[in-house]
Symmetry: C2
Subunit: 557 residues, 2 copies
């Protein structure tokens, strides 16, 4: 978007979808894609492409409601050019990028749009805006990259008070690297690529690569308990975040960077996942690592998903922990292969060999394992993994698919916008559970989604899954689901499928989300996940720190 | 102690000191000890040993104040024999084992003793006692092994309400091991040795060895954010604790065992370190590991503490993380050698060699590094560490000292009781900070302690230190201090030295405690550590969850 005001250095995604203007998914160079989609969700892509219905001028955006006093105060605090009330900017800040968000934004469904978007420039300005919002009894919603898919960004529909969206995009610098300690001080609005670029220049990496990497911020990662593709090595954001600064209603919170501490209930771990309800994260002291000597991602095929899961579990117990453990189920493997540009001759030969070995290619599962460290360490990891893969009937297929995965790993969300144009809805739900429950969690969740499809008369509906992020005691399972709604209202259909999946998570020993936060989308399951007493404690925390419900109210619980 | 009631299966430490009756420190077989002590703190141990002044019958124990109603209710809940009001049991439950506690208990200084000790048998009984305490507006203080040194166990001196000490000692079983996930369900009152015994029998270990191991419980570890000697490999208790059950005023809190989760501010991390202020921990889902194939502790000498610190930092960055990284400063090295039974001929030769190499033996520092895992992994770790040690001018001295350390690591607290008999006070303070601050943290803290001694006219006063627990971004520094008070009141002397050390921690980028909790002893530094806004959030949490201040009031903040 081209905003004409002073905040225009701040990058935003398309108001109507994922990513940057001009970049979109197309399948002309992917011969297997159309047949795959026809089979998967019954959608015929051979006809003429529908237009993308994204004419901003047709939307009716509610007028901004904000007092002159508050406008004057905000402008006095951050500067006139950084207080914005234009419609497009306000719409960009209304939602995240869940399928519910995309459906609503495309339909011009805006029960409540922020009244003003404020772009602060430093910690003090953020603190002043927090103080102003509380004093004026306004609602303040922090905004990072806007990639959230759990409803963490939207104003409560019935909110009558002024709603301020606080965009952190101007605060995008690595302020300092303590090279002795491996600690970088980073402004919260720094987006993934900017962060890595600034660190890489000096030989460092934070090693955090969530799917949203290209359009999410470190502050957003902290606020939602994000996890990245290499978290097996680098840790989740809760491990990476050693210190943090937050503008709270009680004044600036400063948790100094510490390797570990014994200071009672962890305030650091209260800020993690707090989605703006305790304050606005302004700075993060992130653990950083020297860029590794070697970094390799190898691909493997397993004859079944069970075999792949068992191999990943065994790999997670290795003394020489790999950086990525990932295995897709057969459906996701099919999807991945359908988005490839062309199959190599080598692939055809490989599949012949596997068939001859008795593999059912429809059950075959693609896996990626990442290796990082010194040359010797990487070679050791590889040989240990090779042995485990072999034990579980798998076969290594080299670096090729891994390189492709590494390059394309952030592109999937574009496919969702593409599907929407064609009347198809897709979203994701992910969970984590103990190893002992993982197969139940997988099979019962697939079943739950399919039962929901059947009940809704959706035939065929799609659900696929991969394991990512292995821990000593369990792993993350990441489900993607999609269906064609055609002329029907997609929202109740989505609700039904999403709910079935979420309930299956809880019923099978999983959590409501491994790394996508609670927001409004998952809050119905919070009490089941952490027990009613757990919800009560969390509600107590919010009530005590934000009695006026000024800080992103209605999220989490 | 020999209690005559039904709870007598519950093991308690001596009411007047550390450990079990009949075990005490003696130095007849340690020829270097007396000269060392003379030099270190000016105490002459050659005279006749003073008697241990521990005649319980001479103490004046305040009478129990509890209503008949509450007594009846408690007995109805846990059974008559598990509700105890006898004086010795109540005194045992009054304090932990800090030097302040030991001085007071020996002096019969009891401003407030619990009125009743209750021994519940299961989760439901604990919940009922919590509910009864809240309903009766009584104060409830959970009690594990009683080893706390931060004042977390004592009733507030001016407390006028009935004080209940809830002893978890009957709940001491490993209830279940989920062998597929590496998760043990353990009752909170299980003490270290009982825990490891039950796990080892089935081939598992939790790998958590705090100094208090022999007399502390897993519930206590969680309640204080404990760390153990092998935490470099097994993680601190916050890593080990994957799920937890807590009896809270809002009902039973059940956090299911999960490898990771994205459910907002972490309630699990609020329970960790909560010291009974949010409820009573009844069960822990602990991450457990298969007993390692190999376990070796090797000893090294470094020419200076700086060289040792630098080596430990470099070791912490290895891909093949060792299980223990520890280096003592020159003073602690001297202390360790003074408690040895006899020096070997080999040692004398070694020291000659080192002298010839130009080492100043008074600056020499002893280090232990632990190696665990498969045979290959251990051998790899050893050779990588060997190289780093060499680079920093250190020298390996084999397994001998490590075996000794492994056997004697839990005995140090007995020396404190011994010293007390002789009019000497000793205690510990530990912290953690980033690597970049660690030398300042060390030298300035030593200086702060020595300045305090000088101001107090204590000459010589003792302070020594070791690094334990390395992390990617920093490490723990563990200080032990001791002085002879003779005829003076030791308490203000202790306060002065302790305060100087704690303030130095904060002033030099360290935390108030790495693994000993806040309690009452460290709460004066909480706002400086986590900033006033952090304290405010924590106070808000406690006020919201325990508005009547029934749960261990006065601790943390």
């Amino acid at each position: 978007m081209a905003a004409s005001t002073g905040q225009n250095s701040v990058k935003h995604m398309k108001w109507w979808g994922w990513g940057v203007e001009g970049v979109a998914f197309h399948f002309d160079d992917k011969p297997k894609f159309a047949p795959f989609v026809k089979k998967a969700v019954g959608l015929d892509l051979t006809g003429e492409a529908p237009p993308t219905s994204v004419d901003f001028s047709q939307l009716v955006v509610p007028a901004a409601k904000i007092s002159d006093d508050l406008m004057t105060q905000l402008k006095g605090t951050v500067g006139e050019e950084f207080v914005v009330t234009d419609d497009e900017d306000r719409v960009v800040h209304t939602y995240g990028k869940s399928i519910r968000d995309l459906l609503r934004v495309r339909a011009g469904d805006f029960p409540r749009v922020p009244d003003v978007v404020v772009y602060p420039g430093d910690n003090d300005e953020v603190q002043s805006v927090v103080d102003l919002a509380v004093a004026a009894d306004a609602v303040l919603i922090p905004f990072g990259g806007g990639s959230n898919i759990s409803g963490s960004l939207e104003p409560p529909p019935a909110e009558t008070r002024t709603v301020i969206s606080l965009d952190m995009g101007r605060m995008s610098k690595v302020l300092d690297i303590d090279e002795d300690s491996g600690l970088a001080t980073v402004q919260a609005g720094t987006q993934g690529p900017d962060l890595e670029e600034q660190l890489n220049q000096r030989g460092w990496t934070v090693g955090h690569y969530p799917d949203s990497f290209t359009h999410s911020t470190i502050g957003g990662w902290v606020a939602t308990r994000s996890s990245g593709m290499q978290s097996d090595k680098y840790g989740d954001i809760s491990d990476i975040t050693r210190g943090v600064r937050v503008a709270t209603p009680g004044g600036p919170l400063a948790l100094r960077p510490l390797p570990s501490t014994s200071t009672g209930p962890s305030v650091r771990e209260m800020i993690l996942g707090s989605e703006g309800r305790l304050g606005v994260i302004t700075e993060v002291n992130a653990q950083v690592h020297r860029l590794p000597d070697e970094r390799v991602i190898l691909a493997y095929f397993f004859p079944t998903f069970d075999a792949g899961l068992e191999a990943m579990q065994e790999i997670s117990l290795l003394d020489s922990r790999p950086s990525i453990t990932r295995v897709s189920d057969a459906r996701e493997t099919g999807f991945t292969m359908a988005t490839a540009k062309k199959s190599s001759a080598g692939q055809a030969i490989l599949f012949k060999v596997l068939k001859r070995r008795g593999w059912d290619l429809d059950k075959m599962c693609l896996s990626f394992v990442g290796f990082e460290g010194t040359k010797q360490h990487v070679s050791r990891q590889q040989s240990e993994v090779k042995e485990i893969v072999k034990k579980h009937g798998g076969i290594g297929v080299g670096k090729g698919p891994g390189v492709l995965y590494d390059q394309k790993k952030f592109d999937t969300p574009y496919i969702r916008d593409f599907l929407l144009d064609w009347g198809g809805a897709a979203d994701v739900s992910e969970t984590a559970g103990p190893w002992s429950r993982l197969k139940d969690l997988y099979y019962n969740t697939i079943q739950a989604a399919n039962d929901a499809y059947e009940e809704l008369g959706i035939d065929p509906g799609w659900v696929m899954c991969h394991l990512s992020h292995s821990y000593h005691t369990g792993a993350c399972l990441y489900f993607t689901f999609a269906f064609v709604y055609g002329d029907r209202d997609p929202m109740p259909l989505y609700d039904k499928v999403k709910s079935a999946i979420q309930q299956s998570f809880i019923d099978n020993g999983g959590t409501l989300s491994h790394h996508h936060a609670v927001g409004t989308e998952h809050s119905a399951w919070l009490s089941q996940d952490i027990s009613p007493a757990g919800s009560k404690i969390m509600k107590g925390l919010f009530a005590a720190t934000d009695p006026g419900r000024n800080l992103n109210p209605g999220k989490i619980c």
